[in-house]
Amino acid sequence: MATEAIIPEALEAEQAEQQARKPSPMKAPPSSAYKIVPVTEMYGDLIRKYGSEGSYVGASEADSPWVPFGDNAAIRHLAFDVKNNVYCNILWIKGPGVIGTHKHRGMVWAVGMEGSFRYLEYDWVCRAGEFITEMPGAAHTLVTDDPNGMKALFWMQGANEFYDENGNFVETLDVWWFMNHYETYCAEQGLPINKALYL
């Protein structure tokens, strides 16, 4: 290059400086100390006042029961966030079966936990440990062909419109339906409401 012929030393120095200024990405967690490390926090009092520590929901039915969803399925509610219309739950279909055609107005992600399920509209099958997303505008029909059915964790945002087998709109389900599903069952069974589910 022409510039090298003119001022190679200056160019080399500039390149070295640029290299020195270029931040290098972290390659691993910078601490492996098995201890709580105090972190500088200027606004800790505000975080404690207005923030939340997050939630833990254990695996037992004492933390959240299986609530029937039709004859062949049940839902275990894990979280409700009314500010964002977000709700999280485990869907369990106990044997081969169908969750009828529904349309999403928000985004969904899910992880298969047991068995398998698929949608009649797509060519994949979601099995344990596998990950799927569903996007606003998608309408589809969930089926499980597994003799033992399926379990999957769903994190969902926004509205789901459910249709009957003739394509007639029946109801829109969102965080309010899921809360009502949980609270109605708890009231009927005399179970206490678990506040940890309400983010």
Binding site: R21, L46, N166
Partner: protein, 189 residues
Amino acid sequence: MATILEPPVAPTERKPMTAPPSQKAEVVDVPFAYRDIVSRLSPGGRYIDGQTDVDSPWVPFGEKAAIKHLAFDVRQGIFSNILWIKEPGVIGTHLHRGTILMVCLEGTVKYLEYDWVAQPHGVIFEVPGESHTLVTDTGVKLFGWMQGPIDFYDEHGTFVDTTDVWWFINHYETYCRENGIPINPKLYL
């Protein structure tokens, strides 16, 4: 590779709504099965006045600028405010980790990195990963709806501080405390 199979044809074609279906200036009772849960658990919407200091004061941000805080959402790291730069000035180089929407209310504003100058009613959209340097040659009022941390750098490119919803709450509450102004709970979404 996932493919989407051909969907069956819908039984009836629906036509898109072309205008709001009711013109009546009256409250229409909307059927909704979960209204009791909404009234019990929803934080509710609200109105914040922007013309006066009744709901939220102008809080100094350096010597030439002030911020009128409008909303804080600690769940999503969202903060909304009006930034007022009272005369030609600069908000130094900063890098966004979240998404920003701004509307120019008065005056003009630009970034040294881009070729446009925002005019009143113009909309500015900023996305994670962008760093830029805000300059107004006239003074400006900007409404902003902002999500996520903003990393501020000094003029040598040395990182100084990250501002996020907690910084903005602290900015508002510190000023209110110093000036004997009551905290407005409406600002906390």
